[in-house]
């Protein structure tokens, strides 16, 4: 039977070199119009939390503050994702346009691109683009400047409040929320933080309108998404796909015929075993069954040759190092989990200990200070519960 291919979309990288026009045309509208367009597009943040972008801009525009800031989150720390890098190397003007529009809407004069340290080589190119963009803004009378801040390589600095701390010259530790960045962000001022990809989608909406954007995807998960596909697949790479596909559709197309499980959303996402491919939808949590949009859009396929124990072991090793270490459930919990699965594997603890560890991940989810510690439970419980035997034998 003929396989029905998932529709490839080409909105993000498609560059018609019309950024000046789009910028002018968008800024010709008033702020309310722009916010309304974003709200009605139902665009949700692509950085992980899936917060509605229009609402974020609206809240920040309404929050009192003598200064405000627009920050583009390009820390892209999730192992195996590199879509933000791709965007910045190929269509950085789109990102800058969306930043400038956001700045006008919220009342910011300063924009910052928080760039992952490993992407340092992008800086010269980006600075050139920023200079050209700045010159254009100058000519059109838009008071907005963008600078690049190079991160220092800690995964946690991609978390927005740790990012502020890092920008302010402190150690990258997440803050308490509330207060939220929309009220109290960089330097204590109202701040919008958006993922690189979110900003490009905003550009798409400026260009084609909210209605066109909404035609893509499904209810509660509108538009497209960039996926970094890796693992046991013959066609690894970056793909822009519509949200709302089922995982079985995805595996049919990207799998190698022997796919046993897919990790959706990287280390902090979920592992979905074959038996649940049908019922799992790739999109934001909504009325649809299944779960989860990837933090960085990472989709990692595993075939039957892979040990799920090793997969989990790697993730936990990553977390025990990348936890900022400030809060108890995450700092100690990650170490206990990592050590625990090794002890069970070696037979030093019996399999019942895995139950204890599952309870621990519940506590971590309930009590950790930020998204990192809260989401360790995702991969842990989805792997342990679905591959119990592999954990033991």
């Amino acid at each position: 039977m003929e396989q029905q291919l998932l529709k490839r979309i080409d909105l993000i990288f498609n560059d018609e070199n019309d950024w000046q026009e789009i910028l002018d045309q968008t800024l010709a509208h008033d702020n309310t119009y722009i916010i309304n367009a974003l709200v009605s597009s139902e665009l949700k943040g692509r950085g992980g939390a899936g917060f509605p972008t229009g609402l974020k801009w609206k809240l920040t525009s309404e929050a009192p503050g003598i200064e405000k800031y627009m920050i583009c989150n390009a820390d892209e720390g999730e192992p195996g994702t590199f879509k933000d890098r791709e965007i910045l190397s190929r269509v950085s003007f789109k990102v800058l346009v969306a930043m400038a529009v956001c700045a006008r809407v919220i009342g910011a004069k300063e924009g910052i691109i928080y760039l992952r340290g490993e992407y340092k080589y992008l800086v010269p190119q980006l600075n050139k683009t920023i200079a050209e963009f700045g010159a254009y803004c100058g000519r059109t009378g838009l008071d907005f400047n963008v600078r690049i801040f190079l991160g220092s390589g800690a995964y946690i600095c991609g978390e927005e409040t740790a990012l502020f701390e890092s920008l302010e010259g402190h150690r990258g530790e997440p803050r308490n929320k509330p207060p939220f960045p929309t009220d109290y962000g960089f330097r204590g001022m109202p701040t919008v933080v958006n993922n690189v990809e979110t900003l490009v989608h905003a550009y798409t909406i400026f260009k084609y309108g909210a209605a066109r954007f909404k035609e893509l995807g499904v209810a509660s998960s509108r538009g497209t998404k960039l996926f970094s596909v890796s693992g046991d697949t013959p066609i690894a790479g970056i793909y822009e796909l519509e949200l709302g596909m089922s995982l079985s559709q995805f595996v049919e197309e990207f799998g190698d015929g022997d796919t046993k499980a897919v990790q959706v959303g990287g280390a902090s996402g979920f592992l979905v075993p074959r038996k649940k491919f049908d019922e799992t939808t790739i999109g934001f949590q909504g009325r649809l069954t299944g779960v989860s949009l990837p933090t960085g859009g990472s989709m990692m396929l595993f075939n039957s040759s892979r040990s799920m124990y090793n997969v989990l072991n790697n993730y936990l090793d990553f977390f025990r190092e990348e936890s900022c270490g400030q809060c108890t459930p995450c700092r100690v919990g990650c170490q206990i989990l990592h050590k625990g699965i090794e002890e069970v594997k070696r037979g030093e603890r019996n399999a019942k200990y895995l139950q204890t560890l599952l309870l621990l991940t519940e506590t971590m989810q309930l009590t950790a200070k930020c998204g990192l510690g809260q989401s360790v439970a995702n991969s842990f419980s989805s792997i342990v519960e679905n591959f119990w035997e592999e954990m033991i034998y």
């Binding site: 809060c327 050590k339 009590t367």
Partner: protein, 596 residues
């Protein structure tokens, strides 16, 4: 009144000001929520997660200390979900911890141990982690022992050192499993900018930061029949010690303390208050001398303001960070060191005791005094002027070890020769006290009249404001001080090194306006010292402060220059203030240090 927010906690309704946390709201209802990283003196960090509670409409638990109370919230502090999570968190802390409680200095006084006991954590669900075995204990500082294997990473010490003291000697290093509290380049505490103030010790919930104790050394000296063991007690100890025995903060226990010291076996019980009065005469004379040189124009090189020098934490701080201001420091030793120098000279001679056999012990509210006693220059008597410095806490430990029932001890008086003091000395224990005591004396020396304040209480320099100022105009001085006629003496007082920094960073033209500055390293002055009973809080320090001023009011003599034993000391031994002999024994010099 502002709009209050109303919420329920465990079904009870409570109203609080907007911005107050759930924890504060619960406190109002007298509902206890366990905490570890939270401290009333510090900004909220919310990292231990012990204080989590359930909030309806929130699928996660929320940290009570870090979450603002909101209108309509429904909080539950003791649900099964909360209890399980709390248990887990304590188990996690213990799994990471060198939980050898019976061999821990904080055994019985540790907040972690306390919560574990309350929750009755009788088993450990999780495997022990052994990271702590890799840590070595830092014994290098003369004041503080830092034992990372007992640390729960609450960062109270880091926040204390930064927010209260502005020193930043302690920082968080590394991330993940390796995250720990460290110093610049992980150097020993003795080699960094640490001032030994002990505020981090006062704020540490566990045994990770404790004072270096000399309890056994002092017991050994007391047991040695060839030794004559003499003890001095600092002004702030008598308003703090009672807390260690369950008395209300602010209870004055001077007489009981003296009795206890005698029963512990000290041969002579004397008072640092005596040398506090002496300090006023030395420092006051120095101040007047400098005033004369600069105001009367005798010597343009002489620097004003004079800055007080009785707080050894402050001394080390300025040596590290503001070397350009060092020449402003009074050359006077602290009262402790004045006492030490006299103990093995004046006292020894008067009592005909071989100074070699004297062991000089001091009871201090302070850990920096331990360091100060060991400074190489502090040997004016020809011996170590002060042999052992014990904090208020260590004294309490000795009293408990001796089996004394402190609450029922009778009251007794200090021994003679160096045991008499005035109210001016008593107030040394509070921020602003040195200033007030100095003004009471200096003003009278210059004008022949008492300071123009009701009952000698110079209220503008009192209180807990971080920096306070006062100005007193000199009118109709005695002929000798005619050049001061109409001069307004400008004074500033700062406590907590973070406030000291603000004064030191003033531009020269503002800084030089002052004539006299008093600085105490610790919040509230010595009464909030790093060696005082734990816990500390603004409220507790206020109570101690009230007790200090009550002590002053209760004294028959309230001005240092009226102290008969001090007068005797000058008459029989030193000659006059700032005499050559006084300089030899009672004054000192300072050292330049690195900035980290």
């Amino acid at each position: 009144m502002e709009n209050k927010v109303q919420l329920t906690i465990n079904g009870q309704i409570v109203e609080v000001q907007p911005g107050k946390s759930i924890l504060e709201a619960a406190e109002k209802l007298r509902i206890h929520i366990p905490t570890l990283c939270y401290h009333k003196d510090l900004c909220v960090k919310g990292n231990c997660r012990v204080c989590v509670v359930e909030s309806k409409h929130n699928k996660r638990l929320v940290a009570a200390c870090a979450t603002p109370a909101e209108q309509g919230m429904a909080i539950v502090t003791n649900s099964l979900k909360v209890r399980n999570a709390r248990r887990h968190i304590i188990q996690l802390l213990l799994a990471e911890h060198n939980a050898d409680c019976t061999k821990c200095y904080k055994n019985g006084q540790c907040e972690l141990q306390r919560i574990a006991a309350d929750l009755k954590i009788l088993n450990q669900d999780f495997s022990e982690l052994n990271q702590w075995k890799k840590y070595t204990v830092d014994y290098y500082s003369p004041s503080i022992i830092k034992n990372d294997s007992k640390c729960i990473r609450c960062q109270r010490c880091v926040r204390t050192c930064a927010e209260l003291q502005g020193v930043n000697a302690l920082t968080v290093a590394h991330k993940g499993e390796k995250m720990k509290i460290s110093t610049f380049l992980a150097k020993p505490m003795s080699e960094v900018v640490c001032t030994n103030c002990g505020q981090c010790v006062n704020h540490c919930p566990t045994g990770a930061l404790v004072e270096r104790n000399y309890i056994e050394e002092v017991w050994a000296a007391l047991a040695d029949p060839t030794k004559h063991v003499i003890v001095q007690t600092a002004p702030a100890v008598r308003v703090g010690l009672g807390e260690e025995f369950g008395l209300e903060p602010g209870t004055r226990v001077t007489g009981k303390m003296v009795t206890a010291l005698r029963q512990l076996g000290f041969d002579t019980v004397l008072d640092t208050d005596f040398t506090a009065d002496l300090t006023i005469l030395e420092e006051g004379t120095e101040l007047l001398g400098r005033l004369k040189s600069s105001v009367a124009g005798d010597n343009a090189d002489v620097k004003l303001p004079v800055i007080s020098s009785c707080s050894p934490g402050w001394i080390k701080y300025i040596e590290h960070l503001f070397p350009n201001r060092l020449s402003h420091l009074s050359s006077c030793k602290s009262p402790q060191q004045m006492f030490g120098a006299l103990a093995k000279t004046y006292y020894a001679a008067s009592r005909k005791i071989d100074p070699k056999s004297i062991v000089s012990v001091s009871i201090m509210p302070c850990t920096a005094k331990k360091y100060e006693a060991g400074r190489p220059e502090m040997c004016s008597s020809g011996y170590r002027d002060v042999d052992y410095v014990l904090t208020t806490r260590e004294l309490a430990i000795m009293i408990k070890q001796a089996g004394l029932d402190f609450g029922v001890l009778s009251e007794s008086a200090y021994d003679k020769l160096m045991g008499q003091s005035t109210g001016a000395a008593a107030i040394f224990g509070a921020t602003g006290g040195v200033m007030e005591a100095a003004l009471r004396t200096v003003y009278e020396v210059v004008t022949g009249r008492e300071v123009p304040f009701e009952a000698l209480n110079i209220t503008p320099v009192r209180g807990m404001e971080g920096i306070r100022e006062a100005a007193i105009e000199v009118k109709n001085p005695l002929p000798e001080w005619q050049f001061l006629d109409g001069v307004t003496l400008r004074c500033a007082v700062a406590h907590g090194l973070v406030n000291a920094r603000k004064l030191m960073e003033l531009p020269a033209e503002r800084f030089n306006q002052y004539h006299f500055i008093e600085i105490m390293a610790c919040p509230g002055g010595c009464l909030g010292g790093g060696g005082q009973p734990i816990p500390t809080s603004p409220e507790i320090r206020n109570r101690r402060m009230e007790a200090i001023y009550a002590e002053d009011m209760g004294m028959p003599l309230r001005k240092s220059h009226d102290n008969p034993e001090v007068q005797l000391l000058y008459a029989n031994y030193l000659g006059s203030p700032n005499s050559k002999k006084a300089h030899e024994l009672l004054h000192t010099h300072y050292t330049l240090r690195e900035r980290f």
